[in-house]
Symmetry: C2
Subunit: 317 residues, 2 copies
Amino acid sequence: MGVVSAFAALDELRVRGARLTKPLAIVNFGDEEGARFGLACVGSRLTAGQLTIEAAHRLRDGDGVTLPQAMEAAGYDPSAIGPDPERLARIGAFVELHVEQGRALDLTGDPVGIASAIWPHGRWRFDFRGEANHAGTTRLADRRDPMLTYAETVLAARREAELAGAVATFGKISVEPNGVNAIPSLVRGWLDSRAADQATLDTVVTGVERAAREYAERHGIDLDVVRESFTPVVEFEDALRDELGAILGGAAERPVPVLGTGAGHDAGILSASIPTAMLFVRNPTGVSHSPAEYAAEDDCLAGVAALADVLEGLACR
Amino acid sequence: MGVVSAFAALDELRVRGARLTKPLAIVNFGDEEGARFGLACVGSRLTAGQLTIEAAHRLRDGDGVTLPQAMEAAGYDPSAIGPDPERLARIGAFVELHVEQGRALDLTGDPVGIASAIWPHGRWRFDFRGEANHAGTTRLADRRDPMLTYAETVLAARREAELAGAVATFGKISVEPNGVNAIPSLVRGWLDSRAADQATLDTVVTGVERAAREYAERHGIDLDVVRESFTPVVEFEDALRDELGAILGGAAERPVPVLGTGAGHDAGILSASIPTAMLFVRNPTGVSHSPAEYAAEDDCLAGVAALADVLEGLACR
């Protein structure tokens, strides 16, 4: 929803004739998903000083293009990369409106909810290195095939997540040489894992890595595991969350649901620096990060109205 | 070795002052490996009429570039694509020299061998379709994750190949959307499998497909299996093979080893149309299709000398 819903809420405030006593600003952070450079929330991390300029300059996409090169190609000035503490210090509260990415809200029957926390989550890169060889002439016993170890690790991740009540996913893979008739020399798989608390997440990731190392040893595979990103549990500020509850609960017939989420957000990054809150709009299928992601129009309008209520409540006092 | 060794053998014939009574030609077929367009031996298949012009025009690489477009970009005339029966009819015998891609020859202690047969082999594309979704917020029970089914199928292929004494490899994969925080909608894996005879190969591939379908059903995954290429067993012509044995055995102290191979070759394609034979040079590690592929210089020279002997024997009669 992001920027579009923020403008819609601003329109709603104009229609209401709201008189702000504090300035309002809308921000659109770059690459919240991290799909291109592998690190989620690059824009908000940079703003909040959680990503150094040096580290940002080292980010490369799958084709080897660096973040500064990509910015330049898109018409932006890469010398602007860096933290922005002065701007950050001027923010009294940051509120992000987002479609829920699970079904928790749908189960409550409410169109809008308030975030309590974001699960701790991280990304780990598993590099399985074997020996490239001919798929037709290399005896099975002579192979060091990293695809086998990768496959066993994918299944281990599912088992560990099931046991712990967490989630673990291998959704991205890169193979060299990736030829039909070649045993791979390298299979690189990325593990995304999240859990309600840090101890559970540690249990899952440690279990997956232990299983992967056992498989690797058995097949003569070299394994490197690198944690590429990590975001500890985010508990949104109690005071601001309660204030949102009071603003929205005053109009609603019953308390607005408060719920945690497994998805990372720019609001989670900023919460380390400034008071931050999130509103969720009901997702009837729970499907997200897919063309099938959907929210009913009425629920979207309810989300915009809730954001307008919150902005009015916070900026018109 | 291919073209370079053929020119070296020609040099050797010149040095010997060999007087040919039949014309010799050297041919360099395009894309024997099929790495770019997915189909091995495109050049020899076209020449021999085993690939129709229409099918050749439909070949696309991973970026969607067609074979004619790629030829044009490389400065070749795509209208030349097609069979060449007249030229084929003028060939009395075709001999291909190749480094061995296994260790069979090395185990005999000989530097040069003669091919008996090429194992039947094929490539099958497995398309596992699930539902793209958010890796952080989708409960395990709600997932239709095709990566899990792919992983189970990779391990099933290894088991089936072990049971049958064949080889089976998943060395190439393509994932959509291939994002760290997204459950894939599509995992496409390519199976390469070969065996000493057709019945064994059928057993392996049928077994892998049956296992994949069971896993797919359990996870709510749609599975399509497409045979992208297939080459039946190639038995090189007895008469020509015996002639090579006589030519080389006359100089050697003992019979030259005759051995089968699991690797496909242009010679295997042409053998359906014309008398065809292959010579192998010893590969001390068996490593092939890898930067580590290696043959000793003395063995390469022995291969060139053997090819020169064979050419002299066949073309100077």
